[in-house]
């Protein structure tokens, strides 16, 4: 009788876990297919401009949705109230004087990656000044975020080009790769730590409890990581980095401090997302990935001639250079047996 009860409990746990897994997998699959939406409150007379930009799907106020649909657009109706309920994001950019910053005066990047990781089923929106639509679209796409972009009309063409680029990428549904496990207490302090980890390309995954699969398990309020230690998030992130060890990091980028990476893979293939926040082309980056990979393929927004150069595998790592990086690029690599 007792055995039967145990079997029933085990079956129930498996069922719940399976359901959770299915929900996670489904969410990941949806995210992989998701393109950010341009929120367009303009009158129907602006339809031609959208079409010229190659944009055929928008978010629009409900009272305008019908006429936009009649004009041939796929429309997601979003009211002002719904928009306001979404989490507003930072304008992705370099804050400060990146032009004169040296390596030891690291430029300050406003990025949103950590918010997406923290709330994978969250709903977000950007309110963007001119010149930032394409980067915001790429940022949301790289993290599979459900994001709506209120853009400056002057950015329509650039946003359209970015959306076309994103649409043209081979679809992938790979799990994120991380080096650090984080038990998130939801606090502001932890949020800032996640922000700093993201900005320094210290890949993390939120987990419910410590996991031996990760070299570093980070939980604030413990003896090892007292809350006071996070008072200086920058220094704290540096401490985490040193605990992990640069050699053990899944991704490193050299030649810039303004490119943020996201890495996903399943052991047979890997996708690297590269987001350049500088507002100008980055020249000759060097990327190091832990693990051995075969020659990959890069697709870089706005740079048709992009290629992976000086490709080497040595010491358990793979390195390559990217001669030019605009706003965004993805690199797909097969794992080497």
């Amino acid at each position: 009788m007792r055995s039967l009860a145990l079997i029933c409990v085990a079956a129930l746990i498996a069922l719940v876990a399976g359901a959770a897994f299915t929900a996670d997998a489904q969410r990941a699959a949806e995210a992989a297919q998701r393109l950010p939406l341009i929120y367009w409150a303009g009158e129907i007379e602006t339809a031609e401009g959208l079409k010229q930009a190659g944009i055929d799907q928008i978010a629009a106020p409900p009272d305008k949705a019908v006429e936009w649909r009649k004009a041939g657009f796929k429309v997601v109706a979003i009211s002002q109230a719904e928009l306001a309920r979404r989490e507003k994001l930072l304008v992705p950019r370099i804050a400060g004087r990146a032009n004169v910053a040296s390596a030891t005066r690291r430029p300050w990047i406003d990025s949103n990656g950590w918010r997406f990781v923290r709330s994978p089923s969250g709903k977000f929106y950007y309110e963007l000044p001119q010149g930032k639509a394409a980067l915001a679209a790429a940022e949301a796409f790289a993290y599979g975020a459900d994001a709506v972009l209120k853009i400056d009309p002057a950015d329509l063409e650039e946003a359209g080009k970015m959306l076309a680029f994103l649409r043209g990428l081979p679809r992938e549904n790979l799990p994120a790769i991380a080096d650090i496990a984080v038990i998130d207490d939801g606090s502001l302090a932890m949020g800032e730590v996640l922000n700093l980890l993201t900005r320094r390309n210290l890949l993390f995954k939120l987990v419910p409890s410590p996991s031996p699969k990760f070299r570093v398990n980070l939980k604030l309020g413990t003896k090892q990581y007292p809350k006071s230690a996070a008072a200086d998030p920058s220094e704290f992130a540096q401490k985490i980095r040193r605990q992990l060890g640069d050699e053990n990091r899944s991704v490193r980028v050299y030649g810039t401090e303004v490119v943020i990476c996201r890495l996903a893979g399943d052991g047979s293939r890997t996708r690297l997302h590269l987001l350049n926040y500088s507002g100008r082309e980055a020249d000759s980056l060097r990327v190091r990935l832990r693990g051995k990979y075969g020659q990959g393929v890069i697709k870089a927004f706005g740079i048709e001639s992009a290629a992976l150069e000086d490709f080497v595998t040595a010491d358990g790592a793979t390195e390559f250079s990217i001669s030019k990086l605009g706003i965004y690029a993805v690199v797909d690599l097969p794992a080497m047996k």
Partner: protein, 382 residues
């Protein structure tokens, strides 16, 4: 400063001892990656370790120090090279180092523009001698890291048409890396910076077969002096400014470490120290004549450490003469980091604790002779 004084200072100053102990604890860990093997006889220290020929002429500059006398410079160059090698003919001296098949890089220093740079007449005379050996202009590269600095010095009118004038980056903004070799680098984490690599200029690893180093006699806020070692090291690698931050500098070990990286070490075969003018404070820059002085000297060697050991004394003596704190001073009260303006106005203000012992460190890496008692200086007066 004489060697004995130097040793005494270390022994008598508790602060110095403390700092040195901390240095060894905090010494960065370096990872050097290069596929290049050292030459059988690396260019540094080369065939004349510990030997420096110092040629001085009051007439090499106008009385006010602003104009260079090309003819006197030529004579200084000829006498200096012959004295270095012991040859009777100047051309034979140059042939000891170069063959017509070589591709030669001339590492100039344009950072101290306009007053304290590798003087165009010295560079021109170097080129002329290389062409006497049989090199074509296309086989010679004047190089520096930053194009905007080279543009201001403007070597082109002084050298034959067809010669290459090359800069690795447009300016000191770290936005163009394509001229650096991804496979030759020194890696270290100094202050938690994300980019921990300094890569060698591709021209050096992939093109030139020999290098002539033409530095200047300069004070330096981080290293104490910038002479042969720093010019060839920091002037040939990317991403080096990261070694000094908030008053602290890791130049003590990084200068020598970079200079030791192959093929830079093996290919740098001749040191010509341009000491026509120098800067005794606020270096490596010299935008005005405020801190410029006039040694009216050119030194010749294959050993960069020996020249730089002499340079430490030259700069420190000049500072003492002017009532400025010593380059060996480690008193944090002199420190006003992130205040270049104050440093520029007051020679008793430092923005970084200087690391003049980088020269001694380089000697320990085998780059040359640091012991002043073992350095043989041949002085020539013209």
């Amino acid at each position: 400063m004489k060697r004995r004084t130097f040793v005494q200072l270390l022994a008598a100053t508790p602060l110095a001892s403390t700092v040195h102990a901390k240095e060894s604890e905090d010494a960065p860990k370096y990872k050097v990656v290069t596929p290049y093997k050292p030459a059988a006889a690396p260019g540094m220290p080369g065939p004349y370790p510990g030997k420096v020929v110092s040629v001085k002429s009051a007439k090499c500059l106008s009385d006010d120090g602003l104009k260079i006398n090309d003819e006197v410079v030529r004579e200084m160059m000829e006498r200096g090279m012959r004295a270095l090698t012991g040859d009777a003919k100047t051309i034979d001296s140059w042939r000891r180092f170069f063959t017509p098949e070589d591709v030669v890089g001339i590492k100039v220093n344009a950072g101290g523009r306009p007053w304290v740079v590798s003087s165009p007449p010295i560079v021109a005379e170097t080129v002329r001698n290389l062409m006497e050996v049989g090199l074509k202009p296309q086989q010679i590269y004047i190089y520096e890291r930053f194009q905007n600095q080279l543009d201001q010095v403007n070597y082109a009118p002084h050298v034959p048409e067809g010669m290459n004038i090359f800069a690795a980056e447009r300016q000191n903004r770290r936005v163009d890396n394509s001229n650096y070799d991804p496979n030759v680098y020194a890696e270290a984490d100094f202050f938690g910076e994300d980019d921990t690599r300094s890569n060698l200029i591709r021209l050096i690893s992939q093109k030139v077969t020999k290098i002539i180093n033409v530095p200047n006699m300069k004070d330096h806020g981080a290293t104490g002096v910038t002479g042969c070692l720093k010019n060839i090291a920091y002037g040939s690698f990317s991403n080096v400014a990261r070694t000094h931050f908030k008053g602290v500098s890791h130049t003590l070990s990084f200068v020598g470490t970079l200079a030791s990286v192959e093929p830079l070490r093996s290919r740098t075969v001749l040191q010509i120290m341009d000491g026509l003018r120098g800067v005794w404070h606020a270096g490596p820059f010299a935008p005005t004549l405020k801190y410029v002085f006039f040694p009216r000297t050119i030194q010749f060697a294959t050993d960069p450490v020996a020249i730089d050991r002499l340079l430490l004394d030259i700069i420190d003596d000049e500072r003492k003469r002017r009532g400025a704190v010593s380059i060996w001073n480690r008193d944090e009260q002199t420190l006003d980091f992130n205040n270049g303006k104050n440093r520029d106005e007051d020679p008793n203000t430092n923005i970084i604790i200087r690391e003049p012992r980088h020269v001694e460190y380089a000697a320990k890496l085998g780059l040359g002779v640091h012991d002043i008692g073992k350095i043989k200086v041949e002085e020539i007066e013209i």
